[in-house]
Each structure stands twice: as C-alpha cells, then as structure tokens.
C-alpha cells in the first residue's frame, strides 16, 4: 500500500519543481514585450500606492468599478486611449476620484500603462479554439508566426 506520507511529500516536491519551472520557463520568452524603464517603474509604484487594482483590472485580475486597463493605451487606435486616460487621471469623473496628481505622476502612470499594453491583448482578438474548448492566442510564445505558416 502506498504510504500517505510518501504521496504528500511527492506532491510537495512536484510543487517546488513545477513552481521553479513556471517562473523560469513558462513566462520568460514572450514576443512583443518592451523594457520596463524608470518612468514606467515609477508608474507601477504609483498604481500600487493609490490601490488602483481595487477598481481596475489587468488581464482580468482586479476590481470591477472601472474598466480593465490591459489595453487602455491602444483603445480605439492612435492616441485616443492616452488622451482619455490623461483626462481621467487629471480630473477624475464617472466614479474615478481626483487624486490631484502632478503632471509627472500622470506621465509615469501613462508610461506604465503603455508598458502593460505591449505585453499582450486582453481579451484575445486573434485566437484558435480546439474541439475540446481549449483556446490558443496569437500572443502565446508558441503561436505559429507568419514565417512558419
């Protein structure tokens, strides 16, 4: 009979191996990512400082008071997204508080949102679905590129 303790420790070891593997391999080589510069890093700090995640989401994680911001910068193309975001950040409105942010703070937050925007599309616009319901999307690292098709 298999010992319960042996199963427990086998699962604990697989937890560690799986965790390390995911952090090293599963999330590293994504196409389209841009570097996180000093300004966008400052924007990330501000995003956390004002607890923006209570109302907004990234990739569906966060609150529902305001819109998901993953692709807020590319909303409707051009710089429409940026203009809308700047207006909200400067004045608040529609449930968004006015935090009296400085111009520098607004620019940092915009830089952060631009950084996030380049990491992928949420929800995916170009995707394939298998017969068993699995979805593959164009931002996946193993999505076949045009060259290989």
């Amino acid at each position: 009979m298999i010992n319960n303790r042996a199963i427990f420790f086998a699962l604990l070891i697989s937890y560690f191996i799986y965790t390390v593997y995911i952090f090293v391999d599963g999330t590293d080589s994504l196409p389209g990512m841009v570097a996180h510069n000093e300004e966008s890093k400052h924007g990330q700090e501000l995003f956390q400082k004002y607890n923006c995640i209570a109302c907004h989401q990234f990739y569906g994680l966060g609150g529902h008071m305001g819109p998901d911001l993953t692709n807020a910068m590319s909303y409707r193309g051009g710089n429409v997204g940026e203009l809308i975001a700047r207006a909200f950040l400067a004045n608040g409105g529609n449930g968004m508080p006015n935090y009296n942010l400085s111009e520098d703070e607004i620019s940092s937050l915009i830089a952060y949102l631009k950084f996030v925007d380049k990491t992928g599309t949420y929800p995916p616009k170009v995707y394939d679905m298998t017969w068993y319901g699995m979805i593959y999307q164009e931002d996946d690292p193993d999505w076949p590129s045009e060259d290989t098709e």
Partner: protein, 451 residues
C-alpha cells in the same frame, strides 16, 4: 479558551467586513455615496476582514479541538496567546493603514508588504504549535489532520509566493507578474480551503460518530485530489494570459478531475439527505448541510468556468466574483458557522434556548435565500458584461447591467442581516462561556489556596 477568543475575533471581523462590503456595493452603484471613504478603502477593508474571519475561526477551531479530541493539551498555550495578540495587533494596523490611505496595492493583500512580516511570524507560531502538539498523537492521522497540516504548510509557501513581486525579476515582467499572482492566490485559497474542509470533516465525523469514514481510502483519495488541484489547477485563471499553452492545457485537464468530486457529491446525495433528517435539530449539522448544497452548486459553476471556451466569456466578469462569493460565503462561512455552533453545543456552562435556536435558523434561511439571489444577480451581470459586450465604453456596459447590480447589492443587505443574526447569538454564547470559565477558574484557584 484561546480557541474561543480566536472565534470571537473572527465574528467581529466578519460582522464589520460585511458592513464594509455593503457600503462598497452602494458605492459601486452610487459613486458619490460616502465619498470621503473611497471605494479603494472599503473594498480593501471588506476583503481583508472577511478573509481574516476565515482564518480566525479555522485557527480557533483547531486550537479548541486539538487539546479536547486529539492530545491532552496544546503544546504551548502561551504561543497560541502570542499568536492571537500578534494577529489582532497586525489586523488593527492593517485597518489603520487602509483608513489613512497607505496601500501596498496588491489584489487581496492591499496593505503595505511590511505588515506581512508579523503575519508570517504568527503563522510560524501556529504551525510550530500544531506540529508539536500533533507529535504527541502517535495514532495514524485521520484525513482532517492531514488537511489541517496541508493548509498550514501550503499557506506559508503560497503566501511567500504572493510576495515574490518584491523581487524585480518578477515585478518587471508583466506576464510573469500576473501569472505569479494568479498562481499564488489560487493556491493560497486552496490552502485555506484545506483548513476549512478539514474542519468540516472533523465536525461531520464527530456528529456522525463514525471515525472510520475519515480514515477511509475514499477520504484520502478525495484529499489528494484536492491537493493535486491546489498545486496544479490554478492556471485555469490564466487561460487568457499569453503564456506557454501546455501550462493552460494541463490546468484544464487538472480542473476537470474535479468532475470526480462532483459526481461523488451527487452519488452521496441520498445518504446526506437521510442524515439531514436525523440531525435536523442539530444547528451545526444544518450549517454543514447548507455548505453541502453550496459546494455542489459552486463546484458546478467552477467546472463550467474552467472550460476555456466558457472562461473566454466570463473571465474578469462578475461570474468570477459569484464563484469567489459562493466559495467564501456559501461554503467557507457555512462550515465555519457549523464549527462555532458545534463548539457551542459542547459548552459546559452555556446552552442556547429554543427561542435562540429558532432565531439562528431564521438567520440561516434568510442568509441562504439572500445568497442565492445575490449569486444569480452576479452571474447574470457577469454574463451580460462578458457575452453581450460589443466594444461600448465601460460605463455603458455597467449601465446595462445596473438592475442586476442593484439586486446584488440589496441581496447583500439582507444577507448581512441574516448572518448578523446568527453571529449575534454565537458571539453572546462564546462570551458567556469564556466569562463562566474565568469564574470557575477563579473559584478553583481560591479553593486551591485555601486547601
């Protein structure tokens, strides 16, 4: 008595946490409502306090049950008292940090990360005390002790993972950052579920008087399946995050293994109905039976949203909120209330009157009906947002689903009233028992001195 003190603190935490939840619900509908207390604060207060309720009552139960049913005494009551005061002081500091607008800004853990240090320390106290106490118990462990031990170990691991964002390697890669969050939060929820489900099995075994069930192969196979899902199932939250597809396909497969648990619940349904007939006057059993129904419904919803096709339309919508609320209120809260009333049922000095029991039953009925309306409204709102969204501005979508959000908020008010009614009698009984115990302790000490 330390277990009862944890439970009392948990009750206070839930009562206030639900109140902030209701305020947040109204702020969602009317952004000008209590504008001074921003939604960013009320949501954080609500989430932290209701999550604390889960931990406090689960921990309180373990501190209460261990010396009475497992070993003659807790390894260290002093360490448990330290744990209590550290938890309480940290909790007060967390609340103060929210009210003063000082955030760490993470989903679920919105407090500054420095406050996680006392939480880690208090957890080490708890884990050390638990394993040291259990080392005195030489018999093979029934499954509920395994679940408690698993909950303690994996909370420590997953809570550590949730803080990896403090390292630039994680923080500066957006996809890794999101995946780490989903991974740690998904597994962390699984770890507290282990504490809660262990408590449910413990009470069910004691009420049923059949210890063999908790040591059966079936009990252990379900436990290991749950642990397997805790470790590997979280990635169903990341179906729409760009990452290696094998990772998501694997999570899809792992999530579907829960169909086995789902089938088992249906299979056992008749038996649990006849058990209900036998135990219908037992308050703890009534809460457990409610939790059973919510497990069935919530697992059904979880299985549906774990299919990537359905997840595509529901992820990031109120359907996921419904799933989270169904788990924390319908399952966790009902089990923890069962634990409290099981403890109350065993008190030496205090007994609930028939009138009080009736009031608790009415509270339970109101809570269950309200929760059903609450969840249906959330699911409809979520489907409305996810399926019928065609690119309109966000406020237009919210406007379209507003009637359901209003229903959800009003159901939240009646849910709070129902739960408050239950909590009131539970709090009163716990306080009276603690006071009576102090009295008898003082009398004993006086007698000892005299003799």
């Amino acid at each position: 008595m330390i277990g009862l003190k944890f439970m009392k603190l948990g009750i206070i935490s839930l009562a206030i946490g639900m109140f902030f939840g209701v305020i947040g619900g109204f702020q969602f509908l009317f952004p000008e409502f209590l504008k001074e207390l921003l939604f960013t604060k009320t949501r954080a207060l609500h989430v932290s306090m209701v999550v604390s309720w889960i931990f406090l009552v689960a921990i309180g139960g373990i501190y209460y049950y261990l010396p009475r049913y497992t070993v003659n005494k807790l390894y260290s009551t002093k360490l448990a008292t330290w744990h209590y005061w550290l938890f309480l002081l940290t909790g007060i500091t967390v609340i103060a940090s929210y009210l003063s607008g000082k955030f760490g800004g993470r989903e679920y853990f919105a407090f500054p990360p420095i406050l996680s240090i006392p939480i880690f320390i208090s957890w080490i106290f708890f884990g050390f005390n638990f394993f040291k106490s259990m080392s005195l118990n030489l018999k093979p462990w029934p499954v509920y002790y395994w679940q408690w031990a698993t909950g303690i170990v994996y909370f420590f691991l997953t809570y550590t993972e949730a803080h990896l964002y403090l390292i630039p390697y994680f923080r500066e890669n957006m996809v890794r950052e999101i995946i780490v969050q989903w991974k740690s939060y998904g597994a962390l929820t699984g770890s507290w579920n282990m504490l809660v489900y262990g408590t449910a099995l413990f009470i069910a075994t004691k009420i049923g008087g059949n210890e063999k069930t908790a040591s059966s192969k079936m009990a252990f196979s379900l436990y290991f399946l749950g642990l397997f899902n805790l470790i590997f199932g979280w990635a169903h939250h990341t179906y729409l995050v760009p990452s290696d597809t094998w990772l998501r396909t694997f999570a899809y497969f792992v999530s579907m293994t829960e169909l086995y648990i789902f089938g088992k619940i249906i299979w056992d349904w008749r038996a649990s109905l006849s058990q209900y007939e036998i135990n219908r006057h037992n308050l703890a059993y009534r809460f457990l039976f409610s939790a059973d129904i919510w497990v069935f419904l919530n697992l059904g919803l979880a299985l549906i949203i774990s299919v990537p096709f359905f997840n595509f339309y529901t992820h990031g919508t109120h359907v996921i909120v419904a799933h989270a609320m169904g788990s924390t209120i319908g399952i966790n809260t009902m089990i923890l209330l069962a634990s409290i009333f099981y403890v109350i049922g065993n008190f030496k000095h205090v007994e609930l009157t028939d009138k009080q029991k009736k009031a608790v039953s009415h509270g339970l009925k109101l809570a269950n009906v309200s929760l059903a309306v609450f969840l249906i409204a959330l699911i409809i709102a979520g489907v409305g947002k996810g399926v019928f969204y065609t690119g309109e501005p966000y406020q237009v979508i919210i406007y379209n689903i507003r009637p359901f959000l209003m229903t959800f908020t009003l159901a939240g008010v009646t849910l709070m009233i129902g739960i408050w009614a239950i909590l009131w009698f539970a709090f009163k009984s716990l306080s009276q028992e603690i006071a009576k115990n102090h009295e008898s302790q003082e009398i004993n000490e006086a007698v000892n001195i005299k003799s």
